[in-house]
């Protein structure tokens, strides 16, 4: 009753009934894999909500930052403790959800024309989410994240020509750590980066609504699926509930990022096993595997961290960004598509995707190469060389094998005989023998 009156009130003033009607009767294609993007969205919403709360608990001046976060980890502040735990778990899951969602988009070809821009927006949001996570967990100024910041500062410093300037923007111009570092991180993490993600997210969803969601093959010219109200709305509500439940369960059972144990950052202190959060681990692995060579151009050094720390992720990012156009050029398929591919339909895509996943996983594993070497009783130097060779040769092997497998699966799906056809052949004794029908 109340809802009806509110809706009528709004319609009298803003003419909203027509818009609401269109929105509520809109058809959404339904497949379990289409919920992955929703998980990412819900994680982001939780991050913003818990994050706003945390800005009231956090002391953004460099001196008080650590103490204010350690306070949240004490028994005296159970609500703050849970909110902070949910916030950090949501960040870890947010980037994972984006990556899995991106994988679904990639392997089903949803990025093809006319959705190239949406793909590029999504890839950009992946990068921004990783930066937001990195700046966020560096805010408490603890020893683990401070070590990571020092490395990031060195990577910024390594940029040719503008390295010192770039590093100066990062922390206010002094040598590391500098008095403005926490403040700058705060500005980035609380304001700039979330606003950028929010704006891109709005564009992402807007494009999705306007261009309509892709679907697996049922109909080329129509969207086939479920009505938003009440059907799809309930389903998406269930997804939201599941997301929140998973986060609450994580906060109940697993402690994350115990900065009280890490201690305040001091530039001369470091802990064994210092690695970044998982989504930056591929960079850590790349830094460990990178060669020690320092090039010089007219006497100016290009430090070795430049290549694995900056060039590698930039090349990867640009490659991902441009993939819709690269694939269109390589396959010659420039038509618009609203129907999704079975992943095996384009072996090239499967091969490239498998190669990229292999590289990413390998570099992430390399971030723990010292622990791996000690556990397997092999010399670290040996393992580093194994990883380096795998890094160069592996993606080619994995890509080719994956593409071949996909091609074979595609061929078998296309040319398989009907399962209930059997060839009966009369034999010499007058009986019948079964024979395999020849592949058509």
């Amino acid at each position: 009753m109340i809802v009806r009156r509110v809706v009528a009130w709004a319609d009298e003033r803003f003419g909203t009934n027509a818009l609401l009607h269109t929105a509520l009767k809109k058809i959404y294609p339904d497949h379990w894999s289409f919920y992955l993007g929703e998980f990412a969205l819900y994680f982001f919403m939780v991050l913003v909500g818990t994050g706003i709360w945390l800005t009231f608990a956090f002391d953004a001046g460099s001196q008080g930052a650590y103490a204010s976060v350690v306070q949240l980890a004490s028994r005296d502040h159970p609500i703050g403790y849970v909110i902070r735990q949910i916030h950090h778990w949501a960040a870890v899951c947010f980037v994972a959800a984006i990556l899995v969602h991106m994988g679904r988009i990639f392997f089903t070809g949803a990025f093809r024309r006319p959705r190239e821009l949406n793909w590029m927006i999504g890839v950009t949001m992946l990068a921004l989410a990783s930066f937001t996570g990195f700046t966020g967990y560096s805010l408490p100024n603890d020893d683990l994240s401070g070590t990571g910041l020092r490395i990031a500062y060195s990577v910024a410093l390594s940029i040719p020509l503008i390295g010192r300037w770039a590093a100066g923007v990062f922390n206010g111009g002094d040598d590391f750590p500098g008095s403005l570092l926490t403040t700058h991180l705060y500005t980035l993490h609380v304001y700039l980066l979330p606003v950028m993600i929010g704006a891109l997210l709005a564009a992402h969803l807007g494009l999705l609504i306007y261009q309509k969601h892709t679907q697996f093959a049922r109909d080329e010219r129509n969207v086939v699926g479920r009505r938003f109200w009440p059907d799809y709305a309930l389903r998406t509500l269930a997804a939201l509930g599941a997301t929140l439940a998973v986060l609450a369960l994580l906060a109940t059972f697993f402690e994350i990022n115990p900065v009280g144990d890490y201690g305040l950052y001091r530039p001369w202190l470091v802990m064994n096993g210092a690695v970044p959060d998982w989504y930056a681990a591929f960079l850590e692995g790349a830094l460990r595997l990178g060669p020690a060579a320092e090039l010089r151009i007219a006497g100016h050094p290009i430090p070795p961290v430049f290549w694995p720390g900056l060039v590698l992720p930039t090349v990867a990012f640009v490659f991902l960004l441009a993939w819709p156009f690269i694939e269109a050029r390589l396959t010659g398929d420039r038509a618009a598509h609203d129907v999704l591919d079975r992943p095996t339909r384009v072996p090239l895509r499967v091969g490239v995707g498998a190669a990229l996943i292999f590289e990413g996983v390998l570099l992430t594993l390399a971030a723990g190469d010292d622990q791996t070497a000690a556990t397997l009783h092999v010399r670290l130097e040996t393992l580093v060389w194994v990883y380096r060779i795998a890094l160069l040769v592996g993606p080619i092997v994995v890509g080719v094998v994956a593409a071949r497998l996909a091609a074979e699966m595609r061929a078998r799906a296309a040319g398989s005989p009907a399962p209930d056809v059997v060839l009966l052949v009369r034999n010499a004794h007058g009986g019948y023998d079964e024979e395999e029908p020849q592949a058509g």
Partner: protein
């Protein structure tokens, strides 16, 4: 019916969480109650969706793709003078270059010939500003040291190692990415940086023998003053920490 059960779970969880918060229960009690509430919500919404038995093959038409419209500019709105057209772009370009100014002025380059704090005659001290005596370290011992009076300079920290009767000191700032080189394998006389596993050979001037570090750790020349405390006899013999473009050697 099951929907009602799920919703009962949701309500129980939400009330439980509120109660837990009011009575300052441990965080996992609060979080656990939240989890119950959200599981109930997911279950209720899911059960309701299933109970709808709604069709999944409703259709609505897609919009066509491709150039479907006439060019967007109205006919009487065309700019017809190419010269003025091009100069507009020139102005835009000039503003773009001007726009670099606030960006560049965001930072001034940090002075990288930053003071390490070490000079001839300065005593080595530990992090509590106590000087290091001749017998302070055991053979095979390691300690982090700073220049007296300047414990806070970021390029200052050094590791002091005693190898037999020799004292050696090297910069603690790794020449790869700046992490503190804090791991000492005393039997192998190797310093290791735990970040990316660069290994430095202490008996050969902390030469970088393995890993991604491009240069040895700078060495600090040592001596003893009249009271028998360790002093530096000069600054490090090479620039501290990772290089950058402006550090032309």
């Amino acid at each position: 019916m099951t929907i009602a059960l799920w919703l009962a779970l949701t309500i129980a969880g939400a009330i439980g969480a509120t109660v837990a918060a009011a009575f300052a229960a441990p965080p996992s009690a609060f979080a656990g109650a939240l989890a119950v509430a959200f599981i109930g919500l997911a279950g209720a919404a899911g059960a309701a969706a299933i109970a709808l038995h709604a069709p999944d093959d409703l259709t609505e038409p897609r919009s066509a793709h491709g150039p479907t419209y006439a060019p967007p500019l109205p006919d009487d709105g065309r700019v017809t003078r190419p010269v003025f057209g091009r100069m507009w772009f020139a102005a835009l370009g000039a503003f773009a270059v001007l726009g670099l100014v606030p960006v560049i002025s965001l930072a001034r380059k940090p002075g990288r010939r930053a003071d390490t704090g070490w000079r001839a005659g300065i005593r080595l001290v530990d992090e509590n500003n106590r000087p290091i005596g001749r017998e302070q370290l055991s053979d095979g011992g390691i300690e982090t040291v700073f220049p007296a009076g300047n414990v806070d300079l970021p390029q200052a920290p050094a590791v002091l190692i005693r190898d037999g009767a020799n004292y050696l000191a090297f910069s603690k700032v790794c020449t790869h990415a700046g992490c503190p080189v804090a791991l000492y394998r005393h039997a192998s006389r190797q310093l290791i940086c735990p970040c990316h596993q660069s290994i430095f050979d202490v008996e050969h001037g902390a030469k970088n023998v393995s890993g991604p570090a491009p240069r040895p750790l700078p060495a600090l020349p040592l001596g003893f003053d009249a009271e028998g405390y360790l002093i530096a006899r000069g600054d490090f013999d090479a620039p501290v920490g990772p290089d950058d473009w402006d550090r032309v050697l």
